[in-house]
Subunit: 133 residues, 2 copies
Amino acid sequence: MKPGRRGAAVTTAAPSSSRALVHPPRADIRLEGVLHALSDPMRLRVVRQLARDEAGLGGLSCSQIDLPVTKSTSTHHFRVLRESGVIQQIYRGTAKLNGLRRDDLNALFPGLLDSVLTAATAQAERTGPARGH
Amino acid sequence: MKPGRRGAAVTTAAPSSSRALVHPPRADIRLEGVLHALSDPMRLRVVRQLARDEAGLGGLSCSQIDLPVTKSTSTHHFRVLRESGVIQQIYRGTAKLNGLRRDDLNALFPGLLDSVLTAATAQAERTGPARGH
DNA sequence: GTCAAACTACGATGACTCTCGTACTATGGA
DNA sequence: TCCATAGTACGAGAGTCATCGTAGTTTGAC
């Protein structure tokens, strides 16, 4: 039996390498799903790191993002983020590059992502001003 | 979550009737908790109805809010909303009046509540009116 | 071809959630 | 006093979630 990719949602374009990842099309992204995805501390952490990196390059690989969990748990969180429509993932060699779906999120839920990011930063400063940066 | 005095949260003032409800003080409200509370369709529905009513009076009683679940499930959702800091509840006779904690939320997470409400309305309009295919 | 790196799949486990029904308490009136 | 109204408490069932460990796949380099 094949790994059987469920769904068959539009995969925006030809991946730069080979394997394809299923992303929900913009119209299928649900507010409840996005809020749920963002309500987990680990996933919020991923999103913040992606946002911080955003200006520079095209994305961060999973292993570049520092999470205090095992790799398989990490995979789980990245999948939740992708399937809820928060992030985009493309294979690049053996790595997988992650980026926020800013355009889609802003089109559907104007201001939401930014207010969550701002709130997360504010809360982090409030809670632990004496910590990593 | 034992009902037992967790934290001794400040109950903003003398209740107009008698029984006291425990609310988290502003500083204890966590972004993850708020996002989680808002990620449930029923609770989002409650919050939207409270927002719609907001201009007028002081609050809606639980039974005025239309939810397609039993009373005990309803109680559960109101508690999650209260304990996460999203709503405020006060007893008024046999009823319990509910209102959004707008000031606290805006102070902690500027713009978040409004962008969620806007997003929820937009999504409802997108999904609701046509229901085409 | 072989090997390491990066990530996935699968199965398990313990915790939490949403839902309900039934029984209970508190309040305000007839 | 008795009763209806509004909501709570408790317990159960079904489901989902976060986490892990182990085993597997894909890719690129040697």
